[in-house]
């Protein structure tokens, strides 16, 4: 441990870490540039550095880009990364209410805290957590996806019917491309661009970036009023902190585990944490309308995933998410094979990584708070300038993702559809939810069926985690109905 500290506490390590944080903030804040992309691009550049320097930079990019994805989500309702989808739901509402500073502050503080807590989990319970992650087989993934999809109703807004329509459209879009089990092309019309399906991120950028701007432009003709935006305070007060304590701890623990499960990352974790925090909250109604709890839950969740993902990577040598998949490659380049042996042969190196994660999160906290003022000042700029900038970012981001013009078209079409949907008051949440979870549900259902020894669905019911998650999903669907019936019955009687 001391050795590891000595390795890390060097000016050069801090320098690379700060460079990483700054790069990460840009990557995260620009829709379309993802943490995965940032890390992948920089890995080859870090080979001429010392392992602790290179990792400092990569870890810093990872932590800060996930945090920074929340900044455009709060300021302009366009999540910078899929993991900050849920941050936009409450953060943007807070911004509209004039609590911009507070929203940015919470995003910074709870992102950092989530990262720190999950790192502590990694430090004290790496092996138990990885065992929990391994207990997730295909049936459990399927159940987790269904559990997540059950929140479609709660993100539907005013009309459940409209929400469902959007959700099923999302599920349909998710089936386009080669099917995940037999690789049979579906709805591809012999267009090779469609073989891999329609990627999710251009749709997200279109709906939330371009779509938001276009509808603001259309709205602005009607009411021309100049709003004076105050940054306001950044640090939440004692009472607010108390209110956010429960969703914070809850999201940290839940997201560390979701992060540890291979193949489930920040997007799924923040959606599920947001939904579960809502379920246990005393102020359910506020969620999606500027709830501090909701914002804290999603901000915590997407960064808490990082500790979990590192846990799986270090203990099992398997990627916990797409960023750690690339980091495994980087570690091997440094001659470290992640896996159980790392803990016996190179335990110092494990400590180096843990210490780097701690420091990276502290720097995120510092940069986040110090920058909140600066970031929120963007809102003081004339709206026309923001519009132009967002449109520019959207186009560049959609293209940069896969260097594909097809994605740009997907983005533009999604943007236009986004405007129409906003006009008609169709909620976008269920669509995004279905796009993220649909493929996971489908492939794992079919994979599970191929695993079931007698080929029947009975296989699912012999697995405790699956049964629990599926029951919770059913309960969350049925419970509001029952509650409504009881309510009606009561009002009738009284």
């Amino acid at each position: 441990m001391i050795d590891a500290l000595m390795q890390v506490l060097q000016p050069s390590v801090f320098m690379y870490m700060i460079i990483g944080v700054i790069l990460g903030v840009f990557i995260g804040a620009l829709p379309g540039l993802t943490a995965t992309m940032g890390v992948a691009i920089l890995v080859p550049l870090t080979f001429w550095l010392q392992p602790q320097e290179g990792l400092a930079m990569l870890i810093a990019i990872y932590c800060s880009s996930i945090f920074a994805g929340g900044i455009p989500a709060i300021l302009i309702n366009a999540p910078g990364t899929p993991a900050s989808m849920a941050t936009a739901w409450d953060g943007y509402e807070l911004n509209k209410k004039g609590q911009t500073g507070l929203a940015l502050g919470i995003n910074a503080i709870y992102s950092a805290l989530g990262g720190l807590v999950s790192t502590i989990f990694l430090l004290v319970a790496a092996f138990p957590i990885s065992r929990v992650a391994l207990s997730f087989g295909p049936p459990e993934y399927f159940a987790l996806a269904i559990f997540g999809l059950s929140m479609m109703i709660s993100v539907s807004g005013k009309s459940i019917a409209k929400g469902m329509i959007m959700g099923f459209i999302g599920l349909f879009i998710a089936t386009i491309g080669l099917d995940p089990i037999l690789s049979y092309p579906r709805f591809t019309f012999d267009n090779p661009n469609l073989l891999d399906g329609i990627s999710f991120i251009p749709i997200m950028i279109g709906l939330f970036g371009l779509g938001e701007v276009l509808s603001q432009i259309l709205e602005s003709n009607k009411k021309e009023k100049v709003k004076k935006i105050k940054v306001g305070r950044i640090i939440p007060n004692k009472q607010e902190r108390k209110q956010m304590r429960k969703p914070f701890w809850f999201s940290s623990a839940l997201s560390t585990i979701i992060g540890a499960i291979p193949g489930a990352g920040g997007d799924i974790a923040s959606l599920i944490s947001w939904e579960q925090s809502k379920r246990f909250s005393k102020k359910k109604k506020e969620f999606g309308k500027g709830s501090l709890e909701g914002l804290a839950a999603s901000s915590t969740a997407n960064n808490a995933v990082i500790g979990g993902a590192f846990t799986t990577m270090l203990t099992l040598g398997l990627p916990g998410d797409s960023v750690t998949a690339i980091l495994i490659g980087a570690l091997m380049m440094y001659g470290m094979q992640p896996g159980p042996v790392l803990f016996t042969d190179h335990v110092d190196f494990v400590y180096v990584i843990i210490i780097l994660l701690f420091i990276a999160n502290l720097i995120v906290l510092f940069v986040g708070l110090a920058g909140a003022n600066l970031f929120s000042r963007i809102m003081l700029v004339k709206r026309e300038f923001i519009w132009v900038a967002v449109i520019l970012f959207s186009i560049v981001g959609a293209y940069a993702l896969n260097n594909s013009y097809f994605d740009v078209w997907v983005m533009v079409v999604s943007g236009i559809i986004g405007v129409i949907l906003r006009k008609l008051d169709f909620p976008l949440g269920p669509l995004i939810l279905a796009l993220i979870l649909g493929p996971m549900a489908e492939s794992n259902l079919r994979r599970s069926l191929s695993m079931s020894l007698d080929g029947t669905a009975a296989y699912f019911f012999s697995r405790p985690i699956t049964v629990t998650l599926l029951s919770l999903a059913i309960l969350s669907l049925v419970f509001p109905v029952i509650k409504n019936v009881i309510k009606k019955y009561k009002t009738k009687n009284s």
Binding site: P44, L134, S183, L316, I326, P338, P340, A400, S450
Partner: protein
């Protein structure tokens, strides 16, 4: 006054955003311009970013080979080589994408063994003859891997167990019709054992499912199970190469165990058909040097891949023979 300051700030950010995606391009161009100031700058290949398509997700063996060679080529050619992962369809999506690229040398791809299989599998109309092959980089045998506490210690015992419990052995692989799927199916075909095949989205989730006890075996590459074999959670029963794998010299081959089967994955690099000869030779040379580089050798040893270079010509011949082999083998297999 203050307003102006902020406007400039926003414009600056906008510019930065535009640059961040183009930065690689311009940076690369400058470099080549420096190198070739007297020659005609525009036409000299390469003068902009090269896209290297890996048809599998980040983190796997193919990705690793692609990225290592990519980073070496970057130094060698003086332009950025950007690795993009286009997954799906057992690699067919990524390969079709490369096939359809403009044959100018700025879009090339990593091509795995699946190149000579997907047509036989009926997935896509991809075959080696549709590409200009640039060189082979690696060969990786299939390794039959089971949990360390499984009741069988040798491949013979495993086969016997599978025969005694037909349909009870679930073998994970990296996707329907992937080489690791064919490897397990080939083993079943050769020995008369009966397996259930479970396709995953890549080898890593299959290994995770094996570690979690959700399936009984995986047939993937030795490198993909190395971490957990070293850690004592998994054991390899046999490898499917003609010689023992250098990473695991104690593990017997199938042939040693009396099962006449040899299935190995391989990987190399390819460009779309019709690229100019001078461009092709630049790329061939870069691949050759990359595979011979110390970096690549270290990485491949470290990850349990066997670096095994074949020149463009040899590789073309090899790939077409493999294409014939799988087109004979696969139609006879029961893959479901």
């Amino acid at each position: 006054m203050k307003k102006w300051y902020l406007m400039i700030l926003v414009l600056f950010i906008a510019l930065l955003a535009a640059c961040s995606s183009e930065a690689n391009n311009s940076g690369g161009e400058n470099e080549t311009e420096d190198n070739t100031q007297d020659s005609n700058e525009e036409s000299k290949y390469p003068n902009k970013q090269i896209e290297l398509v890996v048809p599998y997700s980040p983190g796997g063996a193919s990705d690793m080979v692609g990225r290592t060679v990519g980073s070496f080529m970057e130094k060698e050619l003086g332009v950025p080589v950007v690795v993009t992962n286009k997954t799906g369809g057992t690699g067919a999506v990524g390969m079709s994408y490369v096939e359809g690229k403009n044959p100018d040398g700025y879009g090339i791809g990593y091509v795995p063994v699946e190149m000579s299989m997907v047509k036989a599998l009926g997935f896509a109309d991809v075959e080696p003859a549709n590409f200009e092959l640039l060189g082979r980089a690696i060969v990786i045998p299939a390794a039959v891997t089971v949990p360390a506490d499984a009741p069988y210690d040798t491949i013979e015992e495993f086969i016997q167990y599978a025969k005694d419990n037909p349909g009870q052995i679930r073998v994970g692989n990296s996707g329907t019709g992937s080489i690791w799927h064919i490897a397990a199916a080939g083993l079943a075909e050769e020995t008369g054992a009966e397996f259930k095949y479970v396709p995953f989205d890549g080898a890593a989730p299959a290994v995770a499912a094996l570690l979690g006890g959700h399936i009984e075996a995986v047939s993937v590459s030795p490198s993909e199970v190395k971490a957990n074999v070293d850690g004592g959670d998994l054991k390899i029963l046999a490898v499917m190469s003609s010689d023992r794998d250098p990473t695991f010299p104690d593990v017997p081959t199938l042939i040693e165990s009396g099962i006449d089967l040899e299935i190995a994955a391989w990987g190399g690099f390819a460009a779309p058909k019709g690229i100019p000869d001078d461009v092709k030779s630049v790329l061939e040379e870069a691949v050759k040097k990359a595979v011979a580089s110390e970096e690549f050798q270290t990485v491949s040893t470290e990850r349990g891949l066997n670096a095994s270079y074949l020149s463009a010509e040899e590789f073309t011949d090899f790939a077409s023979k493999q294409f014939d082999f799988y087109n004979e083998l696969i139609p006879n297999m029961d893959l479901q």
